[in-house]
């Protein structure tokens, strides 16, 4: 267990280094910088701006400064972000530096404000996906080949086949314009998160339904279930106590990729429903060449995805004692 976690940590470091360096150099090798505007700046001002953020340094030096907690400036002038009080310490100290576009904020400020919103949206989406997907999947496994099963499977396949912004469009027409029950967009009350959460979770619900149906069918045909039935347990108990645990394994292993997908999907959903989450910052910051913000969001998402994948692998061993961690 400890060895597994340590090894994971090592690979995590490698992954992160890979992500950080690739996105760092990719972004900086592109023409156009964070201070490009419709109005061309006075060259002297631009030089000053570049110097302030150390953009006039060679790239390797910028990179080291970005990573490490050391100060590479010869004159001791430190990169200052946000309100101008704290020196920039490098990402190893958990500091993502000043944002280039939102001059008064550090990247940490922006992430701190937007992440809770995205997390709540994402959790609601995941909740929708799990509740809908598991119910549909288990129902379709229990009533295999009945009309319910066929209808549920068709619904699931359709859910996989539509982009989430189209689903969002239909939902808005249905629940906002035709039946004015929910607000069309914005953020503030829990009501605002129902539609976006659903639209974001729908494709994953569909996938979970398929996975849990398969898993349940496989488990229900096994010997220990027959034994449980034979010794006279009520079928509800057989289902809840014996079948579900094994049947849901594929769903558990899908939760890692699903979370990654929900993070990606929220880029779109946050735009449609005008939700001020982290996803909306990412695309804008990449287009604006806001180097630090876009790096910060990328790193954040990598950490999230990696952490959740590790959690899923751990959960797996608790659910299925046959699986050993060393192999994974």
């Amino acid at each position: 267990m400890i060895r597994f976690l340590l090894r994971r940590l090592l690979w995590f470091g490698l992954t992160l280094l890979c992500v950080v360096s690739v996105s760092f150099f990719l972004m900086r090798s592109v023409r156009g910088g964070p201070f490009d505007n419709e109005r061309t700046l006075n060259p002297a001002i631009e030089r000053n701006m570049q110097a302030r953020y150390h953009l006039d340094w060679p790239q390797w030096k910028q990179f080291l400064q970005y990573i490490g907690p050391l100060n590479l400036a010869e004159d001791g002038a430190e990169l200052v972000g946000g309100d101008g009080t704290d020196p920039f310490g490098g990402i190893l100290t958990g500091d993502f530096g000043p944002s280039f576009k939102y001059r008064d904020f550090t990247v940490n400020d922006i992430i701190g404000q937007s992440l809770p919103i995205s997390v709540s949206l994402g959790s609601i989406a995941l909740l929708w996906a799990l509740v809908l997907g598991l119910t549909a999947g288990i129902a379709s496994a229990l009533y295999r080949n009945s009309k319910t099963d066929v209808a549920l499977r068709l619904a699931a396949t359709t859910g996989i086949a539509l982009p989430n912004f189209v689903i969002a469009g239909f939902l808005v027409i249905l629940f906002v314009f035709l039946m004015p029950l929910l607000p069309v967009a914005g953020y503030g009350t829990p009501k605002h998160l129902i539609l976006p959460g659903f639209a974001l979770g729908a494709p994953f619900a569909a996938y979970i339904a398929r996975l849990s149906r398969t898993g349940m069918l496989e488990v229900l045909s096994q010997d220990h279930i027959r034994t449980a039935h034979a010794k006279g347990l009520p079928s509800r108990l057989v289902l809840l106590r014996h079948a579900i645990k094994g049947g849901l394994l594929p769903v558990v292993s899908y939760l890692g990729p699903a979370t990654a997908g929900i993070l990606t999907g929220s880029l779109v959903i946050e735009r449609i429903f005008a939700i001020p989450g982290t996803g909306s910052h990412f695309v804008n910051s990449a287009l604006n060449r806001d180097y630090t913000l876009s790096m910060g969001v990328t790193i954040l998402y990598t950490v999230l995805v990696y952490g959740l994948n590790t959690l899923v692998d751990l959960a797996y061993t608790f659910l299925d004692p046959r699986i050993k961690l060393e192999e994974s």
């Binding site: 690979w11 490698l14 992954t15 890979c18 992500v19 690739v22 996105s23 990719l26 972004m27 090798s29 592109v30 023409r31 156009g32 499977r153 396949t157 359709t158 996989i160 086949a161 539509l162 982009p163 912004f165 189209v166 969002a168 469009g169 239909f170 808005v172 027409i173 906002v176 314009f177 069309v184 398929r210 996975l211 149906r213 398969t214 069918l217 496989e218 990654a260 993070l263 990606t264 880029l267 779109v268 735009r271 449609i272 990412f282 695309v283 990449a286 287009l287 876009s294 969001v297 990328t298 998402y301 990598t302 995805v305 990696y306 994948n309």
Partner: protein
């Protein structure tokens, strides 16, 4: 030694014929024949296949069909609702306006004008806010989307199959390292890298075209393909890992075949069935990804049209004053039906090609 066998098997002509006729009565069935039979027996997949063939045919023949132009702009105050075919079948208002078509499509449009003249279908599915016909845009858009899907999928196929086959064949350390790399790539949120890459490509598009002769769209396909090969590599590797212990690989090695030959001539054809199944499941994913990128404004660019762009147009005009349902319903239906058919076909193919997996999703 060889003489003994020769004698034993040197049968008389009639005896030989008898033997052969016995053999001929039992007609063997290859994997593919068997799969084809199973696929036909599976009604849902069969319908899906037929639907896809018909739709593919229509999309291929789009320039010849009497469709209105997908790009001819007719500024109106608001989108026009659909005209049912029985109300008005067609009219004589065809205007030849397209984006830069290739030579083949140009000549197909010439052919269309020879056959139908200026006659075109009415707006059976309505028009968008710029007066462009939705039906025509859906069909022309399907060409772009299918092209993106196929090109990107082939790209992922090329990378994934060779990577997986090499990793599985060599095994041991190399395999371990190669699969670790895949693991690392899996945990990178790829969307970010893609967005970076596409913004870079947008920045250097003229240079790319001038000095490399590479179209922006080609880069687009390659980039999408380059992120969808991971699963393929894993699946192929698993298969190759078990195949490499089989007798025919040993036989090949004994007669001195090189590693490259064993991998690409003997092993790859044997994993083809599972690869085809994954292809039918990757194409829908790629199409959705195209839609996603179009939504972010990084995909196909107007005046060209793709399903992703149509879906984006449709969801953008949603407003409480007037609901232009035809702008979202028809593109969504076309996209949904195609992806549904691909998914069903993929499931059916999996059942047909791998009987062990029957009845599982």
């Amino acid at each position: 030694m060889s003489q003994v066998t020769r004698e034993r098997w040197d049968l008389g002509g009639t005896q030989m014929e008898e033997l052969l006729s016995d053999v001929a009565r039992f007609k063997g069935e290859s994997l593919w024949q068997d799969a084809w039979r199973r696929l036909k027996a599976n009604r849902a997949s069969w319908y899906a296949l037929v639907f896809l063939m018909i739709f593919g045919g229509i999309s291929l023949l789009a320039p010849v069909l009497p469709l209105p132009s997908p790009t001819a702009i007719d500024l109106q105050i608001e989108p026009q609702p659909p005209v049912a075919p029985w109300q008005e079948l067609g009219n004589d208002g065809f205007r030849r306006e397209y984006w830069d078509l290739n030579a083949l499509d140009e000549s197909l449009v010439d052919l269309r004008q020879m056959i139908f003249g200026d006659w075109q279908l009415s707006n059976w599915m309505g028009t968008d806010a710029k007066g462009r016909d939705i039906l025509s845009r859906i069909i022309w858009g399907s060409r772009t989307s299918i092209l993106v899907a196929i090109a990107a999928t082939l790209c992922s196929l090329l990378i994934g199959v060779s990577y997986g086959a090499v990793s599985g064949f060599f095994g041991g350390r190399i395999d371990n390292l190669m699969m670790r790399i895949v693991d690392v790539l899996y945990s990178i949120p790829f969307i970010f890298v893609v967005i970076f890459l596409i913004t870079i490509v947008n920045e250097y598009r003229t240079e790319l075209e001038d000095s490399w002769g590479v179209n922006r769209e080609v880069v687009f396909y390659v980039v999408i393909g380059a992120i969808y090969w991971l699963t393929m590599a894993r699946v192929v590797r698993g298969q190759v890992l078990s195949l490499r212990e089989t007798e025919f690989v040993e036989a090949a090695r004994v007669i001195g075949a090189s590693s490259a030959r064993i991998v690409f001539v003997h092993l790859v054809p044997n994993v083809l069935s599972i690869v085809i199944v994954y292809l039918t499941l990757t194409i829908p994913a790629v199409m959705l990804f195209e839609a996603f990128l179009s939504f972010l404004g990084l995909g196909i660019e107007p005046p060209k049209v793709s399903w992703g762009l149509l879906a984006v147009d449709g969801s953008e005009v949603i407003n409480p004053v007037r609901i232009y349902w035809w702008l979202i319903v028809f593109p969504a239906a076309a996209m949904g039906a195609t992806l549904l058919a691909l998914n069903v076909l993929g499931d059916g193919l999996r059942d047909a090609l791998d009987p062990k997996l029957r009845g599982k999703d």
